[in-house]
């Protein structure tokens, strides 16, 4: 039954590999994995400096 068990392990590994491949790239993208120390960790946005200032002022209000 050893070969059969390896067959099952192979099937499980294929599904696991797919799921790993599916879930890891988003973490690289947002900097949760592999970000340099000087990089900010967070989801990339198109918010420019003016908008950031606007949001800051909004919070202060």
């Amino acid at each position: 039954m050893k070969d059969e068990l390896w067959g099952v392990i192979l099937v499980v590994a294929i599904f696991m590999g797919f799921m790993m491949g599916y879930s890891l790239p988003p973490m690289f993208e947002v900097g949760m994995i592999g970000a340099k120390p000087d990089q900010s960790i967070g989801i990339k946005t198109d918010v420019n400096e003016d908008m950031q200032q606007y949001y800051k002022e909004l919070q202060e209000d």
Binding site: V11, M20, S23, L24, M32
Partner: protein, 475 residues
């Protein structure tokens, strides 16, 4: 290969193909289902590991206290240490999905009730799952009993409100929970909101003034001080009480003057004797950590914090809590999903059980067919069945009336213990201890004490029964 083995092999492949088809078909239907498939395949791996390592806390303590065989207990302890090392790595990377639980004496009491129950039932929460996969009818009854008891206990109200201390009631009401929850009604609600939530949440790292995510916090405080040191001390006790005498007796046959080195050798021999359970524990630990990684990645990808949002996006809004959440731990857990499916059945039968904290505020009662954690438990049974079938260890076993009675009583105690301790031997002990959560060892202390009392009671009961039978024979 004889026909029986071929049949078993085909069944094993059939189960794997079934899960594979579910994953592919649901993913093709909607991408979000991959979130549920993650639970499914990790559950499948847990099932295979549990069956391979015979990973059962009940067997571990029963063997130790009843017949003095420490192998399984040592294996469980080693597995916890190995899982702690993996957990430390995951926590240090900042990707852990774990949340520590409130710490107080309630964990000891809960662990005690759970410990007595698991000895009565002949299997802990995780052990009963893998044994069900081996075709054991008693284990299936235990799961049913845990499930029903939890679903009933979480919603119990009426006369039990009179047992609630006034301070709990006042504290629960003052929490300002949504009006649909009615925190001032129901024993468990007032226990949770009025007492448990007021207790401190701490890990060994936070006690030392560090963060869990720091290297020293994760590896030194949580893993080394919180797990490795206490485990080594516990193993030393086990060696001194149950293993030392027999080892030294054997050793004396080959060496006349024994010294401290022989004791060290005996300690090491005891540890390596539990290889199978330890290997299972290591694999469990690695995959428990990996599940956190994968779940976190999918949460980022789909922009969610809880599977409840995904279910709503897919159009399944029935049974989602008032917070929009469902039970979605992101790691190995056993009992809550068991309570949920019975809760769902009760709700479908007309019960109003969404007015409590457990179901209504936190975990919800989604349809079991789309409940992520239920996918994990079902796949766990499937994984254990595949392993048992491939090793020719699968056999349907019908419960006798006596065993069924103990299974129901033991399962009920485990259900109550799980709700009081916010988890079972996996969620409240194995996972919490490994993550450096202080409440984990408190639950463990209670569980070991409960198992000891359970074994002593069982011995007394068996001897009494045997004496009665002998008396009957004499007549």
């Amino acid at each position: 290969m004889d026909n029986d083995l071929i049949k078993k092999r085909n069944w094993a492949f059939g189960i794997v193909a079934f899960f594979g088809l579910i994953s592919i078909a649901t993913y093709t239907y909607n991408e979000y289902y991959i979130y549920l498939s993650v639970y499914l395949w990790f559950g499948f791996i847990y099932g295979m590991c549990l069956q391979y390592g015979r990973f059962c806390f009940s067997s571990a303590f029963r063997d130790l206290f009843a017949v003095g065989v420490p192998r399984m207990a040592v294996g469980v302890m080693l597995a916890t240490v190995l899982f702690a090392l993996v957990s430390a790595f995951v926590t240090a990377t900042g990707l852990s999905t774990f949340h520590a639980a409130p710490t107080s004496l309630h964990a000891v009491v809960a662990g005690f009730i759970f410990g007595v129950g698991m000895v009565f039932a002949g299997g802990c929460a995780s052990g009963s799952l893998y044994k069900t996969g081996e075709g054991n009818g008693v284990a299936l009854l235990v799961i049913l009993s845990i499930s029903v008891t939890q679903a009933l206990f979480a919603d119990v109200a009426g006369w039990t409100n009179k047992l609630v201390p006034q301070s709990w009631h006042e504290s629960a009401v003052s929490k300002g929970l949504p009006p649909t929850i009615n925190a001032g009604d129901g024993w468990v609600d007032q226990y949770l909101a009025g007492y448990v939530w007021d207790q401190p949440v701490m890990t060994y790292a936070t006690m030392m003034g560090q963060t869990d995510e720091s290297i020293t916090g994760a590896f030194f405080s949580n893993a080394f001080l919180g797990v490795i040191v206490p485990a080594a001390i516990l193993l030393l006790f086990v060696y001194l009480i149950w293993s030392r005498r027999s080892f030294l007796r054997k050793r004396k046959k080959v060496k006349e003057n024994l010294n401290f080195k022989d004791d060290l050798l005996g300690y090491w021999t005891m540890i390596v004797a539990s290889k199978r359970t330890a290997i299972a524990g290591l694999i469990l630990g690695i995959f428990c950590g990996l599940q956190m990684f994968v779940t976190q990645g999918l949460r980022v990808k789909f922009g969610i914090q809880n599977a409840g949002t995904l279910l709503e996006r897919m159009g399944h809004d029935y049974g989602i809590s008032v917070n929009g959440t469902v039970f979605d731990p992101g790691y190995w857990y056993v009992t809550t999903q068991e309570a949920q499916w019975v809760g769902w059945v009760f709700a479908k039968a007309g019960a109003d059980n969404m007015d409590n904290i457990y179901f209504g505020l936190v975990n919800g009662i989604p349809n079991p067919a789309i409940n992520p954690a239920d996918w994990m438990s079902l796949a766990l049974i499937g994984g254990a069945a595949v392993m048992a079938l491939l090793h020719n260890e699968f056999k349907f076993k019908k419960p006798t009336l006596e065993l069924a009675t103990w299974a129901i009583i033991g399962g009920a105690l485990m259900g109550i213990g799980s709700r009081l301790g916010l988890g079972c031997n996996v969620g409240a002990f194995f996972v919490r201890v490994a993550q450096g959560d202080v409440s984990g060892w408190l639950f463990g202390i209670g569980m070991i004490a409960g198992a000891y009392i359970g074994v002593k009671f069982f011995n007394w009961w068996t001897e009494r029964q045997m004496a009665k039978e002998f008396e009957a024979c004499d007549i």
